[in-house]
Structures are given as C-alpha cells and as structure tokens.
Symmetry: D2
Subunit: 146 residues, 4 copies
C-alpha cells in the first residue's frame, strides 16, 4: 500500500483498491484467485485458530470467506455496494488445513439491488456451503476521501 | 485449560467445555456474557483487523459473533448440535472500537431441529444485524474421545 | 366498495382500502383479526382445495397467509410498502379444517426497509411455521388514481 | 383418476401420483410442463383473484408456484420429501393475465436434506422471483395406504 510506484493499478480499479484495504480478509488469509464484473473466486486455508469448540471450522469464518467473494462480485464501479443480507446453508464440515474456495456469481441485478450465489467447496470439490447474498448499491462512492 | 484444579466445572457442563475449546471465538476476542438453555449473550470489540475494504466491520465477523451466540444457545447437553444454516440481515454498519453484543434466543425446537433468533446491537443498543439460525442435533456426543 | 355510505372509513385508513381490494386474500378465505402499526393478526381455515399431493396444507398457502399478515403490518400510511423477500421455516404440517392464525410483528424499520416476524399457529397454539419478511417502502402512494 | 384402464402410469411413477392428488396446485391452475429427477418446470396464469390490495400478484401465490416446482423436483421415489423451509426474493411485480413459469433445479443433496433453486419468470423471460428451497426426506413412503 505504501509503495508509490505501484499506485496506478489501485487508482484505476476500484476493486483492487477495495481489496488492498480489506484488513479482515487479509487477517483471515483470504487470497483472491480471480474476479470479473459479477464474479469472484477467493480462497482460504483453515487454520487452527478458525476452529470452533467441536474442532470444526467455525461457521462464521466459512460465511466470511463467502462474504468476501460476494463483496468483490457485487462491486464493479466507484459506487459502494454493500451486503443487505445473506442466507447460508452448511452442507459439510471442514477442519484445520482444509483449503476452501468460494465462487461467487451474480444471479440478478436491478438499479439498486442484486442477488449473488456463492458456493464454497473444499479441495476435492465437495460443496461445503451454499450462500446467497442480497446487495444494495449506495449513493456513496469509493474512496470518499479527496 | 491445563489447570487440574479447575477441571470439575468443565466436566459437568458441556457448554463450558465447548467454549473452552473454541479457538475461533477466542481469536476474535469474543467473550461470553451469560448463557442458559436456549439463550446466550456474547460480546466482541471490533478491531482494526476486522474491517473490510470500505473501513466498516466485515459482515462475516458480525455473522461470526451471532453464530457463536447461536452455538451456545442451541447446545445444552452432551449431544452435538450444529448449524444447518442461517439468514442474516445487516441493518447498520459499525467500525473499529465498536462493542457489539449478540443476544440469542430460541424460537422453536423439535427433536432434531431448532430455530434461534440472534440480535446484534452496538453499545447504544442500536440494532446492527438480525440473524436467524437453523440448528440440527446430531447423534454424536461431546467430547467424542474417552 | 361502491356503497357511498360506507366510503369514509376506507378513505381514512389506507390499510382498510388495501384490504378491501385484496382479492387473493379474500379468495383464500383470509380474515383480518386485528391490526395496528407494525402488527397484524390474520386467520384462515384450511380447505380441501389447499392440500398438496401428500394431503397436507400446501406450503405456498401457509406462506400466503403469513405474507398477508406481513403486508398489513408493514403498511401504515399512503406510501406503498411491498415485500422484497421472505424466509419461511415449516415446523408442523396441517390439514383440511385446521384453523391457522398468523401474527406479524415488526422487528426493525429504517427509512426504506423493514423486517417483520410472522408466526403461524394452529388452533392448539402449536407453531406451524416461522416467517421473516423483508419490506421495502416505495415512492408510490396508494391509491395511485386521482 | 377413476379410470381403471389408466392406473398403470400412476402406480409406476410416484411423482405422477403426487401431482394427481395436488388439489392446491390444481385450484391455482398450475400446469406441469416437464420434470426429471431434481428438476421441474411448472406454469400458472395469474388470475384476478390472485391479486393483492395493490393490484399486483400476491407474493404468496408466486411462492406457491415456486413451491410446487420445488416439490416435484425434490421427490423422486416412494419416500416422501417435504419442504423444511425456503427463502424467496421478489424482483419484479406481475399482474392479471401474466403467465409465470417456475423452473426448479437441484443444487445439492445429501441422504436426508436437499437444496433447490427455483427461478420464476414471466412470458418475456424477465425474472420475477428467485426461490431457494430446503428439503428434508422423511421415513414415510407414498402412498401410505396399502
């Protein structure tokens, strides 16, 4: 972030800027595999400190991975689009060391609202969770500073 | 955890044992305020490393807080109850330093499934998110080791 | 509707006007028990022509009853508020002759959006379904004619 | 149903038997366009008695159409599969005379539970609603009579 020589791509692409500032996704070790308007693929390796009291991946962190994919897929210009809500169904438990991939795809979009499906899979391509996010585009733009 | 003198309560209370092993909630700084069968109150202070690219609390971590409250409220004996799914509606954004409280209450329960409402509020008691979790009770007991 | 002597209450109360025109609820035999801002209670007796192929009440008609309660609870002035979406959990099946009551309560409301919980119960007060509706208030007013 | 000469296909196909007894779908004028394991397409023309107080199709009846598609898609043998719940997002309002088509597709299935997406479109292929149903397979078989 502090290298003045690499500031051009961040300026040009609002998604890149958003990602560069996403401290939560960084602290969860989430990496961005690819993205395009309405789509995103992100990845996370489950760490020991992501397990719940039953020794399986905390559902909140599976949700967080899907939510990051959703945030990338639903933002594509300067206007800020945020999550209005989401539903998740947990299909398979995972554990430490598992590599989870979340793939987001737009299902529909109107002027202000959108619907995105995110499938979370493990390294064997078994589906771990299905997430459906509801987005709302605000009147604010990013970044808000001059 | 390794103090042999305090092992009795953990043995007696499956919830206490579950909480003592919940590394994810611990790493998120979630503290348990209170719990009773079908109920739980938990708390988390939003850290800088919990913010998304827009500088607001990552929705996945708001979900994670609610999910921990849900997990405590839906487990009350040796049988392991897990989340089958959940829906969350985000009502208000929060930021670093905000103290979020999640209050879970059981809405219904049958032999195997349950429904729990979790309200996440900030320090001014403004509602930040409404979560509804769907639980399923497994045939496994906790802990599974001898 | 065309009786000039009874037009005053309909003019005075947008909800009464909305209900007077709700052909779908009328054809389902839904009666309004009570309503107040943010609340509504409605009732329906399950008929033979409301059963699905398994001889139990079609889930869509349980949803329709809850949705009518939701529509009344979320409308309270001239502006038209509609459903953006809803989630329903089915807890108990019912059959012909069962009297179902749906009770809607507002859980939260902002300028444009709202969240309403609707519980559907049978005559023994057993919960049949839990519904959570998401409303959006439009810029249109009711009625739209001059 | 009463023609003894055409009883063979009904006996052979549990879905056909289920549909033949679905009085609710019949009274809503729902016709089955096609079905296969995990899939179904059904259709309904919106009638005057399906409109709500705002003169648009009652959301409960849009849900009912999607729910019938879901029921067909999630049943494929003698065991009875029912809806545990569903979420619907309403994207576009419709009115009397509109022909709505609901297309259901299985997204995942385990031994007892399943997840199905149903898209409801109008005659111009504009999406009216997106529905996601959660199924649970019971231990009962159909029909239960000898």
């Amino acid at each position: 972030m502090s290298d003045p020589e690499m500031s051009v791509p961040e300026t040009a692409d609002p998604i890149a800027r958003m990602l560069a500032n996403d401290a939560a996704s960084e602290s969860l070790g989430i990496s961005v595999v690819s993205y395009a308007p309405g789509e995103a693929v992100v990845r996370m390796t489950v760490r020991d400190d992501m397990l719940n009291g039953f020794g399986i991946t905390h559902g909140g962190l599976v949700f967080a991975l899907a939510d990051t994919a959703f945030a990338i897929a639903c933002n594509e210009d300067e206007r800020i689009t945020v999550a209005a809500g989401a539903d998740i169904t947990f299909l398979r438990s995972t554990g430490a060391g598992d590599v989870l991939t979340a793939r987001a795809n737009r299902r529909s979009r109107s002027k202000r609202t959108g619907l995105y499906d995110v499938t979370v899979s493990d390294a064997s391509d078994e589906v771990v969770a299905e997430f459906r996010g509801r987005s709302v585009t605000t009147n604010r733009t990013y970044p808000t500073e001059e």
